[in-house]
Symmetry: C2
Subunit: 106 residues, 2 copies
């Protein structure tokens, strides 16, 4: 995979996570979702900071304690500090949503 928009799996029973770069304390992933959401009641609770952007598609991200989801469209990005609990509430069901996530520090 040398292009973030290519090599999209045609079947996505689970989100497809590919690690593009990994060094000590630093990891870059491309994530492809299509209609995926985190299980009800599940929260990501990470030891690292995450800076994540949506490059294609759309998503709703939920933070624990917030009433409203954060809607993400292509180009939108958020910084998620260490241990800030969050989940994916929704991704586009009819086309792939492509995320670029950078994990660092922590």
């Amino acid at each position: 995979m040398k292009n973030l928009f290519h090599d999209i799996p045609t079947e996505l029973p689970e989100q497809a996570v590919e690690v593009l770069v990994e060094t000590s304390g630093h990891r870059i992933e491309r994530i492809v979702s299509q209609g995926h959401a985190s299980p009800e009641g599940f929260w990501y609770d990470q030891d690292q900071n995450e800076r994540v952007s949506v490059l294609k598609g759309a998503a709703k991200l939920r933070f624990d304690g917030d009433d409203e989801a954060v809607e993400m469209r292509p180009g939108d990005f958020v910084n998620i500090p260490t241990h800030k609990r969050h989940r994916v509430g929704w991704t586009t069901p009819d086309e792939p949503t492509i995320w670029l996530a950078v994990f660092y520090g922590g």
Copy 2:
């Protein structure tokens, strides 16, 4: 700036570099070019690794010692190891080229 495709400067006498995240040993930048190229004979020679992608527009990246430039289109990315000398040979003159660069390690 909360969207990588928004807030593009209308005049770009120089490339516009915005640091999105910076921690010790880790930096994420959005870079906007339009017709910019590195000066003839100039080479970037960096203490950190760089993983850079083109999100919009197009560019040609040159590596010292290579005969051919690497053409980059939206979604294309390359990993540039520490001290691998490189320069920007060309970017789209008629529209902005948007890069996302992650510097790490080194």
